[in-house]
């Protein structure tokens, strides 16, 4: 807004002598400002309106959600209570937190040393390893799902649990390794050399020097991994679908729809409740997240 006022004020002929050329330029920049910001508002509507509709529908009663009304009357706040009272909803929360929380910790702990080695050690096969990491990162999970499923279910009797999804995270995650490596590359070697001069081994250097400096990178990796687990649908569908006690929110949400048929208001309330934590986390950790996205593509 301030910009508009400035532009208007500057263009005011009473404030002093303004040449016609300057006036045209200012008028042009004002028009430009209006054009850019109207486009911005239009785009914002595109991005935000779906959320608005979802939230509004989640507050309607069942009848109204099936009509063409857009505004709830009356507001049914109890929809949210009813979602929480659904059998299993709290279990899905618990399972999702376990999968996302434990998975994230395991991923960071197991990926960091690998990323460090790939970024800072010189060894034969380093380039090949990196290629393989990238290949694994790009590999659709469905490529290996048949043998993996048979392995977990038939050999280890772990179908109906989330362990087949959590345990692999203790063995490094390709995407996290790659992202951390990109970040660690930006840490100047001088810091590491200094630590070694002080007599630190590689492990001490990693823990005492690299980790504190790499906190933003680690935060980004942790967030990505947390969101990945939170959003994962295919994994729980394959391994946990047969046991409702192991369902996660993403998987449970889809079954919630099937149990509630056309109760779109309840389904939308559940949808909002699944989206909300992700968005809250984002607001607290926006910077780390955006940095992470940038890191994956740009700072090579």
């Amino acid at each position: 807004m301030a910009q508009v006022l400035d532009a208007v004020k500057e263009a005011d002929p009473a404030t002093g002598a303004v040449t016609p050329a300057e006036r045209t330029a200012r008028r042009k920049s004002l028009l430009n400002w209006i054009a850019v910001h109207s486009l911005g508002v239009a785009a914002a509507l595109f991005f935000v309106l779906p959320f608005v509709f979802l939230v509004l529908t989640s507050l309607m009663n069942g009848q109204q959600a099936l009509t063409r009304d857009l505004w709830p009357h009356p507001f049914e706040w109890s929809n949210y209570q009813r979602v929480f009272d659904t059998d299993g909803f709290l279990t899905w929360w618990k399972n999702t937190l376990l999968y996302a929380g434990l998975g994230t910790v395991l991923t960071v702990v197991s990926s960091l040393p690998v990323a460090y080695a790939l970024a800072k050690f010189r060894f034969r096969g380093r380039h090949l390893s990196l290629m393989l990491v990238i290949s694994m990162m790009m590999l659709p999970p469905q490529v290996v799902v048949i043998p993996m499923y048979l392995f977990w279910a038939k050999q280890l009797d772990l179908s109906g649990t989330l362990w087949p999804l959590i345990i692999p995270m203790a063995f490094g995650d390709a995407f996290s390794i790659f992202l951390l490596r990109q970040f660690l590359l930006t840490i100047p070697n001088e810091y590491l050399d200094a630590a070694k001069v002080d007599g630190c081994g590689e492990l001490r250097t990693l823990l005492k020097v690299v980790v504190p400096m790499a906190k933003p990178g680690i935060a980004a990796v942790a967030l990505f991994q947390f969101f990945y687990a939170w959003n994962d649908y295919f994994g729980p569908q394959i391994y946990a679908s047969e046991n409702p006690a192991a369902w996660t929110l993403s998987y449970g949400l889809e079954s919630f729809k099937s149990a509630h048929h056309t109760d779109w208001n309840l389904t939308m309330a559940a949808t909002v409740l699944v989206m909300a934590p992700v968005i809250l986390v984002f607001f607290f950790a926006q910077k780390a997240f955006v940095e992470g996205v940038t890191l994956t593509g740009v700072k090579g």
Binding site: G40, F123, G172, L253, V274, T294, G297
Partner: protein
């Protein structure tokens, strides 16, 4: 320095490297190499999960390519999605990125708003879109109807289901926006100033300054977009399942692809063969096709964007 100590040092450093790399080395063997070899092996066997796998030569391959009705539609859909969805996402992502670098007032707010949909969990976002685009009662068709515009069947119409999925993908374009934004801010200011002095129009500045500078990023966005399309599973599966209404109650089995195989993708075909038909051998055939395609584009990515891995060498 004697050769002996040099060798000892080398061995120590090799051990150290192995120790640091060990989590991934184990992970690579157990969760990548072993299952990949198994997938190849299973693709040549008949295996239904009950009786031990039996070698069957190329039977599964012939079945998938000649007789299995879902394979080619899935491949055609993937091609459609690669051409239309990836293009739309890149164009839209670039557009929004350009817009956000020009917004002077409230840029932070706009950026957050533009980015948020990318974070919406896929199942939740898909459910939301199926509701928004519900042909009969959804808000989008209500508004289109009020305006006297056509009201398509979206997720229930084979001609509109992929465009509806594209709308969903474009809605979550936040990741590309951020990447393009960073790239746009990296374009040297002097080049713009020089172009302006030469009297270049806004379009010419974009065409001759912006585009050449960010073309590697566009390439990156396109190739990763293609690879993501190969993996595209949750959104089309959930959208098809919810829109078909075949769920619960009747006990009917949902075959992915509703309506009329129009939302099928290769990962869903793997699911259908492996976890609905329980023909593990044929599922592995499709898994391998998926593997070859994904690897081909990954190689392209590593070639074209060698910057991705060269830094720090």
């Amino acid at each position: 320095m004697t050769t002996y100590t040099l060798r000892a040092k080398r061995r120590r450093s090799a051990l150290r490297t192995a120790a640091f790399m060990s989590p991934w080395l184990i992970g690579f063997c157990v969760f990548f190499a072993y299952p990949l070899i198994s997938t190849v092996y299973f693709s040549f066997t008949s295996y239904d999960g009950f009786t031990a796998p039996e070698f069957s030569g190329l039977k599964n391959w012939a079945f998938v390519f000649n007789d299995y009705p879902l394979f080619w539609p899935a491949l055609r859909n993937t091609l459609w999605l690669v051409v239309v969805m990836v293009t739309c996402r890149v164009v839209f992502g670039l557009g929004v990125g350009l817009l956000i670098t020009r917004i002077k007032t409230g840029a932070g707010v706009f950026r957050t708003l533009f980015y948020l949909p990318y974070l919406a969990p896929p199942v939740a976002a898909t459910l939301g879109f199926v509701f928004l685009l519900n042909p009969g009662t959804g808000p989008v068709n209500s508004i289109l109807g009020e305006l006297g515009l056509p009201t398509p069947g979206w997720f229930t119409d084979a001609a509109w289901s992929k465009p509806a999925l594209t709308a969903l993908a474009v809605w979550g374009v936040g990741d590309l926006m951020v990447i393009f934004m960073a790239a746009l801010l990296d374009v040297p200011k002097e080049q713009y100033e020089a172009a302006e002095l030469d009297g270049a129009t806004a379009f010419q500045r974009f065409r001759f300054v912006t585009l050449p500078n960010i073309s590697p990023i566009i390439m990156f966005a396109v190739v990763t977009g293609i690879i993501q399309t190969m993996q595209y599973y949750t959104q089309p599966f959930v959208a098809g399942k919810v829109a078909s209404g075949v769920m619960g109650g009747s006990g009917q089995q949902f075959e992915p692809g509703y309506p009329d195989k129009s939302t099928l993708t290769l990962p869903q075909v793997v699911y259908n063969l492996g976890f609905q038909r329980f023909d593990y051998g044929s599922a592995c055939v499709v898994a391998l096709v998926l593997f070859v395609l994904a690897m081909a584009f990954t190689t392209l990515l590593m070639r074209r964007r060698s910057g991705l891995i060269q830094a720090g060498e």
